[in-house]
């Protein structure tokens, strides 16, 4: 599928060559990382080297890194494992955050897609007992970067713990756990060029957490199960590659902006969260008068991969909960798609996207003859 243009890197990104090499070489290791013999120690070394690499990506001590079976598990471990009475979760979290726990209060966002700090403060005032606040670093659908350090300041003034889902942000923008001030931070390997099936929860020292998967004493008794040595090794290699290439990733915003400019030559499309700081690779945009479903089919026929929001819910045609939280009405939200570039995107990908967008809009959009007649 070399002629396909892949612009769905927020769903999963192309594995980085260093990660593939690390996975392949770790797959040839035979050893359970908990075994005491030489094979076991070699597997353990691969796991601990990767722990150092992941720790370096977010500026923490390796001891603070707990490996999990993915980002969803990390979010669930943070939200259900934290020993608190109440949870305040932003309205635009990924479903793995929003559905992790049955009892929580939702914190709204403004029209620009950023969490409402005044509302958070008010909810914290009304809360009793210990509280966990969960706000993502960057939204997976709009790419809007959240004011996490400000969230932490508000939360800390009420003595609340803070969890940050940094799954879409890590590897695309610099992340420093201490600067964010959060207590718990979730990561996923396959969103930054590592393999699927592995993630991490970063736990600030002194934060107590109740294990959700119980068994052997792996991962400081916080997450049982034989360590996925190859997956973890791939995660480590991807974390290093992503960290080293953060500048290049920042430069992708030029490409993204050219995409927006290109599309706007055809129509005055709305970019969601346009006035907010956003991930360099992400744009969520509407095509006036054309449903996302129609767009996706047409883009796919033209060999361009994009999505209507999160991949996890992409079987459904419901309007995005993220756009709804930003006050976008359902009809308009149903015409929005997400385009996400990746570390290996090239200028011709963007040119192709713009060209296809234009032809879909001309055939089916609000400006087409058919629409005028109808």
């Amino acid at each position: 599928m070399n002629d396909t243009v892949y612009l769905d890197h927020n769903a999963t990104t192309t594995p980085r060559p260093a990660a593939i090499a690390a996975v392949s070489s770790a797959l040839s290791l035979t050893g359970n990382a908990s075994s005491v013999h030489r094979n076991g120690r070699l597997a353990r070394r691969a796991v601990e080297d990767a722990r150092d690499q992941v720790a370096a990506l977010v500026g923490v001590d390796a001891n603070d890194v707990l490996f999990t079976g993915g980002g969803t598990e990390a979010n669930n471990l943070a939200l259900n494992g934290a020993l608190v009475n109440q949870r305040l979760i932003s309205a635009i979290e990924h479903p793995s955050g929003l559905q992790a726990t049955e009892t929580f209060k939702s914190v709204g966002v403004n029209a620009n897609g950023q969490v409402d700090l005044a509302e958070l403060d008010q909810l914290l005032n009304q809360s009793e007992g210990s509280v966990l606040v969960s706000v993502m670093l960057a939204n997976n659908e709009t790419g809007v970067i959240q004011p996490v350090a400000d969230v932490t300041n508000v939360a800390k003034s009420h003595g609340a713990l803070v969890h940050c889902d940094a799954i879409q942000g890590a590897g695309k923008i610099p992340v420093n756990m201490a600067e964010l001030g959060v207590d718990l931070l979730s990561l996923s390997a396959h969103k930054l060029g590592g393999p699927q099936g592995v993630g991490a929860l970063i736990v600030k020292p002194g934060i107590d957490l109740q294990a959700q998967l119980r068994g052997g004493g792996q991962e400081q008794r916080k997450r049982a199960g034989t360590e996925n040595v190859a997956g973890i090794a791939g995660f480590g290699a991807a974390a290093t590659a992503a960290r080293v290439e953060l500048d290049a990733m920042a430069g992708i915003s030029d490409m993204r902006n050219r995409l927006i400019d290109g599309v706007r030559k055809f129509a005055s499309t709305r970019i969601y969260g346009e006035t907010s700081p956003r991930l360099p690779n992400t744009v969520c945009l509407s095509m006036p008068g054309v449903s996302a479903e129609t767009q996706l089919m047409a883009f796919d026929l033209a060999g361009v991969c994009v999505s209507a929001g999160s991949a996890c819910s992409s079987g459904k045609v419901e309007p995005s909960h993220v756009l709804a939280a930003m006050g976008v009405d359902d009809d308009e939200a149903l015409s929005a798609i997400r385009v996400s570039l990746g570390w290996n995107s090239v200028a011709s990908d963007v040119e192709r996207f713009v060209e296809v967008w234009g032809s879909i809009f001309a055939k089916a959009g609000a400006g087409s003859n058919r629409a005028l007649v109808g």
Binding site: P15, S24, H94, G216, G217, A224, G225, N228, D300, C305
Partner: protein, 400 residues
Amino acid sequence: MSALSQTAAKGPIYLDNQATTPTDPRIVDAMLPYFTEKFGNPHSGGHSFGWEAADAIEAARQKVATLIGAEAREIVFTSGATESNNLAIKGLARFNKSRGDHLITTKIEHKCVLESFHRLEHEGFRVTYMDVSPDGLIDLQDLSAAIEDKTLLVSVIGVHNEVGVIQPLSEIGEICRARGVYFHTDCAQATGKIELNVETMKIDLLSISGHKMYGPMGIGALYVRRRPRVRLEPLFDGGGQERGFRAGTLPTPLCVGLGEAAELARIGLAEEAGRIEAQRNMMIELLRSQLPDVHINGTMDARVAGNLNLMFPGISGDDLVSCLKGLAISTGSACTSATVEPSYVLKAMGLNEADAGASVRVGIGRFTTDDEVRTACELIVNEVLKLQNTAGRSSSVSAA
């Protein structure tokens, strides 16, 4: 000695196939394309990268199902057997708590099963931990007697990770079905090693591990019966993947690896079990000819081909494992190998502290050669004789 110099050159002989198995190169080959050019998110419903990944996962799901006589849609992919066991046990108990509060398992389960039950005790459930015979088998009459009106679940390990003992799964399934109780079995060590059929064995929930059958680490599966339907409360929530039982992006290459592992195991099962059993019998003969006092823990009548659990009177198993530089074996479960306590499993089988501490586990696998078995026996015999001599001298010194 020639054997020693030979192994020093090649690295240790790997006889710890119950801790993990090497990934079969054929399985690695099957997985690699899904790490590289076929990298799509299988849940991306809008484009061909997603469909290609989803198709590969469904083909793998079918292969896993075929291995145990199930339907593809009854297979839930997880991150490994620990998660499968946690999901089966905690998920079933929590979903059905209005119908009962009693659960039955055995004293020799893997730690992740026992820990799941301990958690449920905290939540108000009552748990019966059944004894086993010195052979390592449960008593079916004890099981029948333990089931009450309020019993929800019986969970019994299919093939034991330390002693290799195979429990009478068909008989347990028969009893559970007749009494209206769900039957879960941890088959992390059994899948691909012995014939399993969820229909004839009347199994409702069955846990599978990838890396115990030559597949990758980080992937497992849980069989969840559909007719009659078994319902579970998920351990974690999110995007609704895996019929709502298990959220999270499915790792396509790992699912493909598990599928390939299941297929290779199914095709080669009888031949492989026969070959490994012959190697195991050769090992027993070689050891017994030099060390007549060696004792095998657990029955030989119902035992997986690749496992031996050996007790050498008077020595420390930990010392033996650490002195045998040319050999990778263990004293028991890898999960607990950092602890120095003798195995709770062997103690439940009636071994005293000293005998339990004098035991080691040897796991023969798909890639073990006859030469490796011979060399391993030579190494073990030498080291055991040395350790027994030292132990003999120090005990006569202390007696004097």
